[in-house]
């Protein structure tokens, strides 16, 4: 059964470690928020109204037109244990909000996990596309194609002046949130990151940590996304994000070059110490793991470490999370037990050849 597969394997299409600028941009995500005209938003919907939305969306998702995009499996939140939901959150396939707050929430997952369509989250429909590397336009095109199929079959809430109508006023207009996950260790090490983050906030973009809405960047991973959705076209939103991300990428490359030239020994020492720690540690907390894995990732990108792939690191991003560790163990674990399992998993993955 394929739900089992979504649960068991940490692997998703976005982790490939390929794609343009994959040394800095780990993945690209695009989300499109849509609602149905004749139904109250999920916040006010009755159970039967919410169920109706789930059925309508599922019907389109399994139609012939959608089969050309991919084959989708529907998973209802009420079928899942809290731990299973948590695994899907850690894999970024569903939002914490869908897992925790939704009534009659469901998700339609494509086989390679590059598309997930959430139903009855804050909005009736949220189409999410995930791609490896820096692929903003590609993600928008893929998402927009799915959006078109839904629109042919469902009556969307759309208003000439306000655009696509959403439950939250922060999403109205285009309803799109495009984001890139950036690995910026050199900008952090050279202490330029705060200056850059401040500048970003002034150009209508926002930075978040890796997991969800409000967290600090752990492991030097930053999620950069657009904040404005109204009054800018999708292509402007995407090209704006693209050009800002591109500038950050260039600055990160510059900072890496600077560190390689001016503090080569210190840099190698830091990277190799982290690598050594992970190869031998018997217990490691999630925050330390994230930081050390960031060092190893940088080591790979700079050619200092050559027997680990970025795919392995991307996989570890997910598989070292608390929910996933417990799912793999088949039982609830204490924090100490998780730290131990985490260390073992990392050891195994890094020394596998």
């Amino acid at each position: 059964m394929s739900l089992q597969r979504f649960m068991q394997y940490p692997w998703s299409n976005w982790m490939k470690g390929e794609g343009p600028d994959a040394d800095i941009v780990i993945s690209t995500r695009l989300r499109i928020a849509r609602n149905l005209r004749q139904h109250p938003f999920p916040l006010l919907a009755t159970d039967s109204q919410a169920e109706e939305v789930v059925n309508k969306v599922a019907e389109v998702a399994t139609s012939d037109a959608m089969q050309k995009v991919g084959s989708f499996e529907q998973v209802k939140m009420e079928q899942l244990s809290p731990l299973e939901k948590r695994v899907l959150v850690e894999k970024h396939l569903i939002s914490p909000n869908l897992a925790e707050e939704s009534r009659k929430g469901a998700v339609l997952l494509s086989e390679d996990e590059s598309v997930s369509i959430m139903v009855n989250e804050e909005d009736h429909i949220r189409i999410q596309v995930f791609l490896p590397g820096f692929q903003l336009s590609e993600a928008w095109e893929a998402g927009s194609r799915i959006d078109d199929i839904f629109e042919k079959n469902l009556n969307y809430a759309f208003n000439e002046n306000r655009g696509y109508l959403t439950s939250c006023p922060t999403n109205v207009g285009t309803g799109i949130r495009a984001s890139v996950m950036l690995h910026l260790p050199a900008l952090v090490m050279t202490q330029q990151i705060n200056r850059i983050l401040q500048a970003i906030n002034q150009v209508g973009l926002v930075v978040r940590g890796l997991y969800g809405e409000g967290s600090e960047a752990v492991g030097n991973l930053f999620q950069l996304s657009n904040q404005v959705t109204l009054g800018m076209s999708e292509s402007d939103i995407i090209s704006n994000l693209y050009s800002v991300a591109n500038q950050i990428i260039q600055q990160e490359r510059e900072a890496r070059r600077y560190l390689s030239e001016h503090s080569r020994t210190a840099l190698e020492d830091r990277i190799c110490r982290s690598y050594g720690t992970l190869l031998y540690a018997r217990t490691v907390e999630s925050k330390e793991a994230a930081q050390r894995l960031s060092d190893v990732r940088l080591g790979i990108d700079l050619g200092i470490i050559d027997n680990v792939t970025s795919f392995t690191l991307n996989e570890l991003l997910v598989s070292t999370q608390p929910g996933y560790l417990q799912q793999a163990a088949g039982q609830k674990l204490t924090a100490e037990q998780r730290d131990e399992r985490r260390a073992r998993l990392i050891r195994e993955k890094l020394s596998a050849k």
């Binding site: 927009s144 759309f158 969800g212 800018m232 925050k287 924090a335």
Partner: protein
């Protein structure tokens, strides 16, 4: 640093949220973070909800409306309400969420200052749905062409302007035919 919740265990989760340059920080241990429903490195309690309702309550329009309502009993008895789902503007201000798509219609231009503050804009310029918005699409395209035409006239590129004018005529015919 110790966890701000229990004060006992060291804070290992540092949650930072930046919205419009405003930063809020929370420092929790893993245990308390889980208690509070933070899945991985924190969600839920730091929802945009709270921030938004802050924004909305700050709305000078709604303040004026509230004062007006207090001074004037005739308006006080009739709160602004979406006729379709029944949500009042006050409820919307509190939750930061609309109840249905008609709320946009019923709250009307009262929403302009809010949209301006969040997006710097009040009107949509992007994608238009193919089926439900065929007419809208043509009209938007027409607007676009007209403004391009003005630009060409201003820069005295008359050949291009003539081309625009032909395209505008064709679209106008298309609208006339379908009505």
């Amino acid at each position: 640093m110790n966890c701000q919740e229990c004060g006992k265990r060291p804070a290992t989760l540092h949650l930072t949220k930046i919205v419009n340059g405003e930063k809020t920080e929370n420092h929790l241990c893993e245990h308390c973070a889980q208690e509070k429903g933070h899945f991985v490195q924190g969600f839920g309690n730091f929802s945009i909800n709270n921030l938004l309702s802050g924004l909305l309550n700050f709305d000078p329009m709604s303040k004026n409306a509230a004062q007006g309502a207090m001074g004037n009993p005739s308006t006080a008895t009739k709160p602004m309400r979406c006729e379709t789902c029944g949500m009042t503007y006050a409820q919307f201000s509190k939750s930061g969420r609309f109840g249905c798509s008609d709320c946009y219609e019923h709250f009307g231009s009262k929403l302009d200052p809010l949209f301006r503050r969040i997006h710097g804009n009040t009107n949509h310029v992007g994608k238009v749905p193919e089926r439900t918005g065929g007419q809208i699409k043509i009209r938007k395209e027409l607007e676009q062409l007209k403004s391009t035409l003005q630009q060409y006239i201003a820069t005295e590129e008359f050949e291009k302007a003539a081309e625009m004018r032909d395209r505008i005529r064709a679209l106008e015919q298309k609208i006339a035919q379908s009505q």
